[in-house]
């Protein structure tokens, strides 16, 4: 099947422009990366409402906080590593503690940053953002979900972190898709195992499920775009059905989606969970595709990993199929 790949960053920039036309209180801030984050699309139409902090992420976040204090709705963009890392304490102590209406749309999250290498690959951003009170954390998986997540963020009060993928992403959802802050999305019903993913790894997870089905394993796929607040009910229901859960994410296995799912299930319905992601290590240079493959996040590598785990797992319901 040929897929149409779309730039979710352009979608983000265009959505900002659209929101800017509807609401004069929307302002946008960037830290010298507006060509990469695509906030330049907004900047061209609304130069008076665009502020470039230069290479100064702490100032970027706290200036956005000040703008929010005057009733503006700032969207703040830079690479995820700098947004979530360099300015973490500004986000924690000024934006979130004051509960200010700041939207952080960070691009270039995960290993798929690619050639720039480990210094620029944010593998911890979801973990860092998820642990701050008042913060909502969203990881969209395609263009439609990105656009709706950005519009959702603009429509509600409070701090939101959205991870915008660097890579172009294939369409996953059709035009009927409705992003819901309270609901995870069951992409495919299944009975043998639960595959829980979001963002750039969702399409790989779906492809992996296809390969698994050819091997007779009937996987349920759940997309969790909203890592916080997480939809516990959908995750628990799926675990009750399959009794075996895999989480798949373009992020460290520490603190991200996998950890969030572990928290939900260990407290409510403990089943065996395998977290698939980056295993407590730094990345390296390479193409996004090479790195996804090397770090075990491509559909083929996911399949290998899951099959290997199931083979040795006497508790898995589908053990007899392997």
């Amino acid at each position: 099947m040929t897929r149409e790949y779309k730039s979710v960053r352009s979608a983000y920039g265009n959505t900002l422009k659209e929101l800017g036309r509807e609401n004069k209180n929307i302002v946008v801030l960037d830290a010298d990366l507006s060509c990469s984050t695509q906030t330049q699309i907004f900047a061209k139409e609304f130069p008076d409402r665009f502020f470039n902090a230069g290479i100064a992420e702490q100032d970027l976040m706290t200036t956005a906080a000040g703008l929010a204090c005057t009733g503006k709705i700032p969207f703040v963009s830079t690479f995820a590593i700098f947004a979530s890392g360099r300015a973490w304490e500004q986000i924690r102590n000024t934006i979130c503690y004051s509960n200010l209406n700041v939207k952080i749309a960070a691009t270039h999250g995960g290993i798929t940053v690619g050639e720039d290498g480990a210094s620029h690959q944010a593998l911890e951003d979801i973990s860092l953002m998820r642990s701050i009170p008042n913060m909502t954390v969203i990881v969209p998986a395609d263009e439609k979900e990105t656009i709706q997540a950005v519009k959702y963020a603009a429509s509600v009060y409070g701090p939101v972190y959205i991870r915008i993928a660097r890579t172009n992403l294939p369409d996953i959802f059709d035009s009927s898709y409705k992003f819901n802050i309270n609901k995870a999305v069951i992409m495919q019903k299944g009975t043998d195992i639960s595959l829980i993913s979001n963002g750039e790894t969702l399409v790989e997870t779906m492809d992996c499920a296809k390969i698994l089905s050819e091997k007779g394993i009937n996987a349920e796929i759940i997309n969790v775009p909203v890592v916080k607040p997480i939809d516990s009910d959908t995750i628990i229901s799926s675990a009750k059905k399959t009794n075996r859960v895999f989480t798949i994410e373009n992020h460290s296995v520490i603190g991200g989606l996998g950890s969030a799912v572990c928290e939900v299930l260990s407290e409510n319905y403990p089943v065996k969970i395998t977290r698939i992601g980056i295993n407590d290590q730094f990345g390296q240079s390479g193409t996004a595709k090479e790195l996804m493959n090397y770090y075990g996040l491509s559909a083929e590598k996911l399949t290998e990993k899951i099959m290997g785990q199931l083979k040795n797992d006497t508790t898995a319901k589908c053990i007899q199929k392997i």
Binding site: V27, D48, R49, F51, A53, G54, A56, Q58, D59, M61, T62, T63, A64, A65, G66, L67, A68, C69, T70, G71, K72, P74, E89, Q90, N93, T94, Y97, S98, N99, L100
Partner: protein, 278 residues
């Protein structure tokens, strides 16, 4: 400098400062914790600013002109006792609430929390962030064509934070002439002299180099404080008022002693201190 206030007026203002100093010490004594040194060094400026210079409304949102108020950010949030004393004096809340300072369930948190107490524009406490927040407010007010001023009060040790200088560049780049910063130049931080811990050097020249107008005053001289603020309001650029102050000002045994940065007076010390403020 032209004298703005008559001697009688100055006496009245100084009388208020004394009352505020007493309250600061009583609050910190009662809480058995807090920051007397830096609260006493900034209180004369906060007094003049809130009672003589700033447009603000203790009734907050109930006032139709509330959105046009001047903004104040206590970037050195550890001087919260000084801010609470001034806010209470201006009528934001009753004075008896001051004795809840730093207690469980109080609106008067150890460092200011905007979601608990009216009159606090933004929560502070982590140093170095107030000036950038002020830049954001100044930009937001300018977008809405609101002619108010944004005041940011920093400590001198706080200037060691890199975020301050990012903000300093931001303010001059964006020509924020509605932004007025203070540096409480009491020359002491927790570990001792600012020049020993990490020499700040010439603050005046540093801000000038960043494109700011600068004013330097005695931060305990009522007329100098008033004149500087009124002059700063007319500035065509962001402006910083470098206020030479004395940490622990007003209490002989606290003055210029870094040990009183974050220590509460005991019963005897409070008694002695209050005698000096009669």
């Amino acid at each position: 400098m032209n004298t703005k206030f008559s001697e009688t007026e100055i006496k009245e203002i100084e009388k208020v400062s004394k009352k505020l100093r007493r309250e600061i010490l009583e609050m910190i004594h009662n809480a058995k914790s807090g920051h007397p040194g830096g609260s006493l060094s900034c209180i004369d400026i906060l007094n003049v600013l809130y009672t003589k210079c700033m447009k603000h409304y203790p009734e907050c949102e109930k006032n139709p002109d509330y959105k046009n108020r001047d903004r104040f950010i206590l970037s050195k949030g550890h001087a919260s006792a000084a801010l609470y004393a001034v806010l209470s004096h201006c009528g934001y809340f009753k004075e008896d609430e001051l004795m809840t300072f730093r207690k469980f369930g109080s609106r008067l948190q150890g460092h200011p929390c905007c979601n608990k107490l009216n009159g606090i524009e933004v929560s502070t406490g982590s140093l170095g962030q107030g000036l950038s927040i002020g830049c954001g407010m100044a930009l937001g007010l300018r977008l809405d064509n609101i002619k108010s001023k944004v005041y940011v009060y920093m400590g001198d040790g706080e200037l060691e934070e890199g975020n301050v200088w990012e903000a300093a560049m931001n303010a001059s780049h964006n020509k924020l002439n509605n932004l007025i910063a203070f540096v409480d130049r009491n020359r002491l931080q927790i570990d001792g002299s600012t020049e020993k811990v990490k020499s700040i050097g010439n603050i005046n020249e540093k801000f000038k180099a960043f494109g700011w107008n600068t004013l330097e005053i005695d931060g305990h001289n009522i007329n100098e404080i008033y004149e500087a603020i009124e002059q700063a309001k007319q500035s065509d650029k962001p402006v910083v008022i470098i206020a030479n102050t004395i940490k622990g000002k007003g209490i002989s045994f606290m003055e210029n002693n870094p040990n009183w940065h974050g220590k509460a007076p005991n019963d005897e010390e409070l008694k002695l201190a209050l005698q000096e403020l009669k």
